[in-house]
C-alpha cells in the first residue's frame, strides 16, 4: 500500500510540476528564438514613446538597442553584413540574447555575434581571435558615407535571434535588417560625426490595442506576438499543444493513481473490517472511526510526502534535462507547495472514499462476513454438477467482484488508448522522417525569378549574377565525393488570352498577395487592410474581405502589367503570369508528377522534350481562402477542393472552411495554350517569344495546393531560344554522408558557390535526429509511466484479491489443488479483466484514433496495430510474473498458515 501511496502522490504532485515545466519551457523556447518582447520598432529614434507610456499602451519599460554601425567582412560582400550595437538593461532583458559559446563582451572592443551573422559574413574567427570588419557608421536613419575599418576581439557566439525574427514573414526581412546581430559593450560611443539609430523592444498593453500604430508606421513595426500566435510549425507551437496534452495526461495519471489508492485502502480496510466492527461495537462513532483511520492515512501521507515529492521533482527534472537546454524546470515556491498539497489532498480524498463506505456498516455487518450474502442477493447462482475447478472458480469470483473489475478494465482501456496512440504517433514520425530525402545538398537561386517586373525575365541577372550555371554544375561533378547533380530551372512565362482571363486563373491571382505577379496590385490591398487608417479594426478587415473580395482584389491595376502589355505589344490581349518548372527528363520526378496525381492525359517525355506539350498543375476545383487576423495582417491560401485532395494539417482544414471564392478548371487535355516568354536584356530592350503548346496531362488530383503551375523538361524549356541558368541544384553523394564528409562538402561547395546558402540534408537529419530523440524519450517515458501505473494498479488488485482469498487458497490446497491449478484460476480471472479492458481500449483506439490523436498530439495519427499487441504482451507478462510470485509466496507457506492467518 505504501508503494501505491508514494506512486499516487508522485503522480499527483507531478501535475503542477509538469505543467510548470512545459509552460516555462514553452516560454523559454519562444524567448530563445524570438526574445521576450511583443513588439520591435525600428528607427525608434524618430518616435516619441512618452505618450503611449503615459496612457498605458506600453506594458513596463521600453528597452533600446543602440545601433552604431553596419559592418561586413572586408573581403566579402557588403550585403552580407550586420548591424553592430549594444543593448541597454531592459533591452537585454527583453531581447534575451543567448550565449551558445564564450560570453557577452565586457571590455571595449570585444564583440559577440549571432551564429548566422558569422556564417553570413563567412567569418571563421575563433573565440579570442581578432576580427577586422569594414563598417558604415550610423547617422540616424542613414549612414555616413565614409567606410571605416573596425577591429574587435570575438568573445562570444550567440544563438540566432535576428535571423529568426526576419523569417517571421516576408515583410519582416527588410525591417529586421536594422536589428543588430553583433553586440559590443554597453555605453560604447558612436564614432565622431555619427548618430545612433535606435531599435525599441517592448510589450504592449493589449487593452489599448492599436494605439501605437497611429504614431508609428506599420513599416517600422515588427509585431513578434503576432508570430507567436500564428506560428504553427515551430517547436513553440508544438510545445503549446503539448501543454494541454501533458496537463490532460498528468491529470489522467493522477486519477489512475488515486484509483489505485482507493483500491489499496479498500483492501486494507477490508482486512481490518473486524477491527472496525469491534470498535463500533464498543461505541466508536462514524466520525471517530473516520478520524482514527483518516489520521492514520494522513500520517502515512506526511511520512511519504517528502519521498513522493522528491521522486516527482526528480522525474520532471530528469525529463527536462534529457529534453535539452530549452526545457526549463525551475518551479517557484508556490508550484512546490501546490505539488505537495495536491499530492496529499489526492491521497487523502482517495483514502476517504473506502473509509466512508466501511464506516457506514453496522458493527455486526463489519464483524460477520455478510458481503457475500449481499452480493448474491440479486444474482442467480446455478449449481454445476461437473466443472473445471479453475474456470468455474474464476467465473464465480468475477461474478462477485464485477464492479471492482470493471474499474480495472477501464484503467487498462485508458492505458491501451494512450499508449497505442503515443506509439502510433511515434511510428508515424519515424516513418515520415526515415525516407525523406534522396539528395544530400541543395543550393537555390531564385534571383532571376524575383526580378522587379514579374511578367518579364531579367536577363541581366541571368547573364551576370546567376551563380547556378552549367559550368558550376560541371565543377560540382568534379568533386570526387559527388555522384550526381540534378538541376531545375524556374522561368516566368505568360499565358496569352484573347479575352478575359478565366475565373479559375483570376482566383490564382488573388493568392499573389506578396508578389507583383498579378495584373492587379493585391499587395497594396493587403497593406490597405493592415496599415493604419480610420476604423481599421479586425472586424472592419473581415467585413471588407467578406463584402466584395473581387472588387478589392482588382482595385489597383499593376503598372508593371500595363507597361509589359505595351512594350510587348499585347494591347488587345490579357496575360496570366505563371511559373514554369523544368527538370531533367531523367529525373522527372516532381512531387506532383506521380501517376496517382494525374487527373487526365499522360506524360509523354518525347513530346515534352520537343516542346510540343507541357504539363499543367490544375486541380479540378480550387478555392481561395482569406481572413483577417486578430493580431493584424491577413491569412490566405489557395486550395485544391477536389474530394481526393489531401488535407495537410489542422490549420489547412480551418482555412478550407473560409473559402471566399472558388472555380472549376476550364482546362482539358489537348487544349492549346499560347505562351509568351518575355525577357529584358538589362538595357530596357524587351524580347518576345511566342509558342503554342498542347496540354499533355493535367496534374493535381490529390495534392493540397490549388496554385496553377506549368511543368516541362529542361529540354522542353530549351526549345525557347533564350537560355536560362538553374534555380536549384540537388547534389547526391556517392557514399552516405558523415560529419567529416559534410564538413569537406560544405567547404567545397562554399568555394564554388560563395555567399550561397547550402542546405545540407545531413545537417537537417542531425537536427531531425535530435528532435526524434526528444520525441522518442517523451513518448517512451509516457508509455512507460502509463504501463507502470497500469501494471501497478492491476498487480495491486491481484495482490488484494489473493490476500482476500488466502483462506480459499489454503482450503483448495488442503483438498488437493496444486500450485498450477491455483495460478490457472487467477490467470483466467485476469485474462477476463484484461480482455475486457483491451477489447474496449482497442476498439476505442481503432475507432477514434484520428479524433483522439488530433486532441492529444495536434495532428492526425496514422493507425498501427502493433502497439496494441505490444502493450498486451507487456501487460500480460508483467501480470503473469506478479501472479506467479504472489501465488508462490502463498504456497511457500504451509496450508495451515494460509488458513489460519485470516
Amino acid at each position: 500500500m505504501i508503494i501505491g501511496i508514494v506512486l499516487a502522490m508522485m503522480f499527483s504532485s507531478g501535475v503542477p510540476f509538469f505543467i510548470s515545466c512545459m509552460n516555462s519551457s514553452r516560454d523559454e523556447i519562444q524567448y530563445r528564438k524570438q526574445g521576450k518582447q511583443e513588439t520591435i520598432v525600428i528607427d525608434a529614434q524618430n518616435y516619441d514613446f512618452d505618450i503611449p507610456i503615459e496612457q498605458g499602451a506600453i506594458d513596463g519599460d521600453i528597452g533600446f538597442a543602440h545601433v552604431l554601425s553596419y559592418a561586413w567582412n572586408e573581403r566579402e560582400d557588403f550585403s552580407d553584413g550586420t548591424m553592430i550595437g549594444w543593448l541597454d538593461d531592459r533591452a537585454t532583458e527583453l531581447y534575451y540574447p543567448i550565449v551558445s559559446e564564450g560570453r557577452m563582451p565586457k571590455k571595449q572592443n570585444e564583440i559577440a555575434i549571432e551564429k548566422s551573422a558569422l556564417q553570413r559574413m563567412r567569418l571563421d574567427t575563433k573565440l579570442g581571435e581578432k576580427v577586422t570588419l569594414k563598417a558604415l557608421i550610423c547617422d540616424s536613419d542613414e549612414f555616413l558615407e565614409e567606410e571605416t575599418d573596425v577591429a574587435y576581439t570575438l568573445v562570444g557566439i550567440l544563438s540566432d535571434k535576428k535571423s529568426n525574427i526576419e523569417h517571421f514573414y516576408d515583410e519582416a526581412i527588410t525591417k529586421a535588417n536594422k536589428i543588430p546581430a553583433a553586440f559590443v559593450t554597453k555605453d560604447t560611443q558612436i564614432e565622431i560625426g555619427g548618430k545612433e539609430a535606435l531599435v525599441a523592444f517592448f510589450n504592449e498593453n493589449r487593452k489599448e490595442d492599436g494605439y501605437l500604430y497611429t504614431d508609428v508606421p506599420y513599416t517600422n513595426i515588427i509585431d513578434t506576438s503576432f508570430v507567436y500566435y500564428f506560428s504553427s510549425t515551430d517547436s513553440y507551437a508544438t510545445i503549446s499543444n503539448n501543454v494541454g496534452t501533458v496537463t490532460f495526461l498528468s491529470v489522467l495519471l493522477a486519477f489512475m493513481s488515486c484509483f489505485g489508492i482507493v483500491n489499496a485502502f479498500n483492501s486494507n480496510l477490508k482486512e481490518r473490517k473486524k477491527q472496525i466492527g469491534m470498535l463500533k461495537a464498543v461505541g466508536a462513532t462514524r466520525k471517530q472511526l473516520i478520524t482514527i483511520f483518516g489520521r492514520e492515512a494522513f500520517i502515512i501521507c506526511l511520512l511519504t510526502a517528502p519521498l513522493s515529492v522528491a521522486l516527482s521533482y526528480g522525474a520532471v527534472r530528469a525529463y527536462a534535462n534529457i529534453m535539452g537546454d530549452s526545457f526549463i524546470f525551475e518551479p517557484d515556491f508556490l508550484v512546490l507547495i501546490a505539488g505537495v498539497f495536491l499530492g496529499i489532498i489526492c491521497v487523502m480524498l482517495s483514502s476517504l472514499i473506502p473509509l466512508f463506505n466501511i464506516s457506514r456498516l453496522s458493527p455486526m455487518q463489519a464483524i460477520r462476513n455478510i458481503e457475500m450474502m449481499r452480493k448474491i442477493r440479486n444474482k442467480k447462482i446455478k449449481t454445476q454438477t461437473s466443472f473445471s475447478v479453475e474456470r468455474h472458480l474464476a467465473k464465480r469470483k468475477l461474478l462477485f467482484s464485477k464492479g471492482k473489475n470493471i474499474a480495472i478494465s477501464v484503467i487498462i482501456a485508458c492505458c491501451v488508448i494512450i499508449s497505442c496512440l503515443s506509439l502510433s504517433f511515434l511510428n508515424s514520425v519515424l516513418e515520415n522522417t526515415a525516407t525523406y530525402y534522396d539528395i544530400d545538398y541543395e543550393i537555390n537561386d531564385y534571383g532571376g525569378v524575383g526580378s522587379s517586373n514579374s511578367f518579364i525575365n531579367d536577363l541581366s541577372y541571368q547573364n551576370t549574377e546567376s551563380p547556378l550555371t552549367e559550368n558550376k554544375k560541371q565543377e560540382v561533378l568534379e568533386i570526387p565525393q559527388v555522384k550526381d547533380i540534378y538541376g531545375e530551372k524556374q522561368v516566368k512565362l505568360n499565358i496569352v488570352f484573347k479575352g478575359e482571363v478565366p475565373e479559375y486563373l483570376q482566383i490564382n491571382e488573388y493568392a499573389s498577395f506578396t508578389t507583383t505577379s498579378s495584373r492587379f496590385l493585391t499587395a497594396e490591398f493587403s497593406d490597405a487592410l493592415s496599415t493604419s487608417g480610420q476604423g481599421n479594426s479586425y472586424s472592419d478587415y473581415s467585413k471588407k474581405i467578406n463584402d466584395n473580395l473581387k472588387a478589392y482584389m482588382q482595385a489597383a491595376p499593376n503598372p508593371d502589367y500595363i507597361h509589359t502589355k505595351k512594350v510587348a505589344d499585347f494591347e488587345n490581349e490579357e496575360l496570366f503570369n505563371v511559373e514554369v518548372t523544368a527538370q531533367s527528363s531523367e529525373l522527372f520526378v516532381f512531387d506532383e508528377i506521380t501517376k496517382d496525381n494525374i487527373i487526365a492525359g499522360e506524360i509523354n517525355i518525347d513530346k515534352l522534350n520537343s516542346g510540343e506539350e507541357i504539363l499543367i498543375y490544375a486541380p479540378e476545383k480550387i478555392g481561395f481562402s482569406c481572413e483577417a487576423n486578430p493580431g493584424g495582417g491577413i491569412s490566405y491560401g489557395l486550395y485544391n477542393l477536389a474530394p481526393e485532395a489531401e488535407v495537410d494539417n489542422t490549420s489547412d482544414m480551418v482555412f478550407r472552411d473560409n473559402i471566399k471564392a472558388e472555380a472549376d478548371s476550364p482546362f482539358k487535355v489537348g487544349d492549346t495554350l499560347t505562351l509568351t516568354l518575355l525577357c529584358d536584356d538589362g538595357n530596357g530592350n524587351i524580347t518576345r517569344e511566342d509558342k503554342e503548346v498542347k496540354i499533355g496531362a493535367i496534374l493535381g488530383k490529390n495534392s493540397s495546393s490549388g496554385v496553377f503551375r506549368i511543368f516541362t523538361t529542361l529540354e522542353g524549356l530549351d526549345t525557347f531560344k533564350t537560355n536560362f541558368n538553374y534555380s536549384i541544384f540537388d547534389i547526391e553523394l556517392k557514399a552516405d554522408c558523415s560529419a567529416e564528409l559534410d564538413e569537406i562538402m560544405q567547404a567545397e561547395l562554399s568555394s564554388i558557390f560563395p555567399g550561397k546558402d547550402i542546405t545540407s540534408v545531413f545537417e537537417f537529419f542531425e537536427s531531425e535526429k535530435q528532435e526524434r530523440k526528444m520525441m522518442i524519450i517523451s513518448i517512451a517515458s509516457l508509455v512507460f509511466v502509463f504501463l507502470c501505473v497500469s501494471i501497478s494498479l492491476i498487480n495491486n488488485s491481484i495482490s488484494a484479491q489473493i490476500r482476500d482469498g488466502k483462506r480459499t487458497l489454503g482450503t483448495l490446497r488442503a483438498v488437493g489443488a496444486s500450485e498450477k491449478e491455483l495460478v490457472s484460476s487467477y490467470i483466467i480471472q485476469i485474462a477476463n479483466i484484461m480482455l475486457l479492458g483491451f477489447g474496449a481500449g482497442s476498439i476505442i483506439y481503432l475507432c477514434s484514433y484520428r479524433f483522439i490523436g488530433l486532441i492529444a498530439f495536434g495532428d492526425y495519427v496514422p493507425i498501427a496495430i502493433w502497439p496494441v499487441l505490444l502493450i498486451f504482451i507487456i501487460l500480460s507478462i508483467a501480470c503473469y510474473i506478479n501472479l506467479k510470485l504472489k501465488i508462490k509466496t502463498i504456497t511457500n507457506n504451509s496450508i495451515v498458515e494460509n488458513i489460519r492467518e485470516l
Partner: protein, 227 residues
C-alpha cells in the same frame, strides 16, 4: 495393518528469538479403519500433530509414512494428488469455498482430480448427512452445522483412506456437535475410513476406538478400547 505412521516427528516454531517446540519426537502408528481421538489441553500440539500427519504442514524433523512410503519422497504436486485422492479434511472453521454452492464444494476434490463423480455414493453420503435441501446454497446462506456437514461430505467425496478432523464440533452447539460426531463415526465405519480426530472434548474422545493424549508436544497416553 498400519495405514499411516509417523516416526520421531518434531515441529518447532520461531517466536521472536525463542524456539517453541510444538511436537517433540512423536512416533505413532494408525491402523486401517481405526477411529482415533487425539486429545490434550489447549496449546499441547494436538492440532499441529494432525496437520503434520496430514501433510498440511511440514515437520521440522522426522517422517510420515503412508502405505509404507515416506511422504518425504513426495513433491508438492504428488502431495496435492495424495490429499485430493486419499485424505479427507474437516476443519473446525468448516473452510468451505465461499463462491461455490454446497454441492460444488462437495464435488471439489473430484473435479480437481478431473474424474466423474460417483452419483450413487455421493447421494448416500448426502442422505446420511441430511443436507439434500441445502446443496444449492452458498456457504454464507448456511448455518454452522450445515456448513460442517457439507465439509464432511466434501472430505468423504473422493472415498479417502483417512479422514482428518480438527475439532469438527468446536464451533457447533451441543446438539449439532453430537450429530456431526455421530455422523463422522457412522460414515467412517460404514465406508471403512480411518478417522483421526482432534478434540479437547472428553465426551467426543470417549466414542473413539483409541485415544491419544498429547501434552507439551509429546504423547503421554495412548489407550485403545474395544467398542
Amino acid at each position: 495393518m498400519n495405514i499411516i505412521e509417523c516416526k520421531n516427528l518434531t515441529k518447532e516454531y520461531l517466536s521472536g528469538e525463542n524456539t517453541v517446540v510444538a511436537l517433540n519426537d512423536v512416533s505413532l502408528e494408525f491402523e486401517k479403519g481405526e477411529f482415533c481421538a487425539i486429545t490434550g489441553p489447549s496449546g499441547s500440539g494436538k492440532s499441529t500433530f494432525l496437520h503434520v500427519l496430514s501433510s498440511l504442514e511440514n515437520a521440522t524433523s522426522g517422517e510420515v509414512i503412508y502405505n509404507n512410503e515416506s511422504l518425504k519422497n513426495y513433491n508438492d504436486n504428488q502431495l496435492s494428488i495424495l490429499r485430493r485422492r486419499r485424505f479427507g479434511f474437516v476443519f473446525q472453521a468448516y473452510n468451505l469455498v465461499e463462491e461455490l454452492t454446497g454441492y460444488e464444494n462437495i464435488l471439489l476434490p473430484i473435479m480437481l482430480d478431473k474424474k466423474k463423480p460417483d452419483e450413487e455414493y455421493l447421494k448416500k453420503i448426502i442422505d446420511i448427512l441430511g443436507i439434500e435441501d441445502r446443496l444449492s446454497h452458498l456457504p454464507s446462506a448456511l448455518s454452522g452445522g450445515q456448513q460442517q456437514r457439507i465439509a464432511i461430505a466434501r472430505a468423504l467425496a473422493n472415498k479417502p483412506s483417512i479422514l482428518f478432523a480438527d475439532e469438527p464440533t468446536g464451533n457447533l452447539d451441543g446438539k449439532s456437535g453430537r450429530e456431526v460426531l455421530s455422523l463422522l463415526k457412522y460414515v467412517s465405519k460404514e465406508l471403512g475410513v480411518t478417522l483421526i480426530l482432534v478434540t479437547h472434548d472428553l465426551h467426543v474422545a470417549e466414542q473413539a476406538d483409541r485415544v491419544i493424549r498429547i501434552e507439551d508436544g509429546a504423547v503421554v497416553e495412548d489407550s485403545k478400547f474395544n467398542q
